[in-house]
Point group: C2
Chain length 120, copies 2
């Protein structure tokens, strides 16, 4: 497997769903998945989806600036993304996000997910 | 082990050395360690140290804004840090950095290291 190809494919797939219909992200998480969203911690598919679907914005556009990828452990992939979010036609807000993907039954799921807006 | 306590201790130790004497970071990397620095990729202690010691700045101050921590795999720790660098008394520059630490012979070493300046 080519970690970079997997990472780019995952990124485009994930954000494609995130930016249009967040409830459909459910198959990408597992009971052991962890999300830290702006410092708030969530464990497991249900808790993560509850957070993501409750986010108070409807329409998102996204401009990706950088995508860094490293293999991680035996069959994992670490992805570090920076870019800008345009929420409900507002001003672009910088964000960064780290994912660790792991393989499960032949497909990749999100083991770790850390998201931050960079308001500095 | 408390991943958050380890992460904070590592962060302060690592940046304390980085900001004063980068060549002393050598014991924290391994032949399998990976660094992606502003998109450039380095594998292994020697290659990573060569890059870090060649960085063209002398004096760094650092202001940490956020530190997010998650356990990662069996005995790993994922750390995501945002903050600002003040290089040679210049203007603060935002940065973000992701580390994955793993345990080796009872101490933590850097398995993955991804660094980006956020100039957006």
């Amino acid at each position: 497997m080519d970690p970079k190809a997997v990472a780019i494919q995952f990124r485009d797939f994930y954000y494609g769903i995130f930016d249009t219909n967040r409830s459909q992200l459910q198959p990408l998480y597992r009971p052991s998945s962890m999300l830290t969203w702006e410092g708030q911690e969530f464990l497991g598919t249900e808790s993560i989806l509850e957070k993501l679907t409750a986010l108070p914005f409807e329409k998102i556009r996204r401009e990706i600036t950088t995508t860094d990828v490293q293999p991680c452990g035996d069959d994992g992939i670490l992805i570090f993304i920076t870019g800008a979010l345009i929420i409900d036609d507002g001003q672009p807000i910088q964000f960064s996000q780290t994912f660790r993907l792991k393989q499960e039954s032949g497909s990749f799921v999100v083991a770790n997910d850390i998201f931050r807006l960079n308001l500095g």
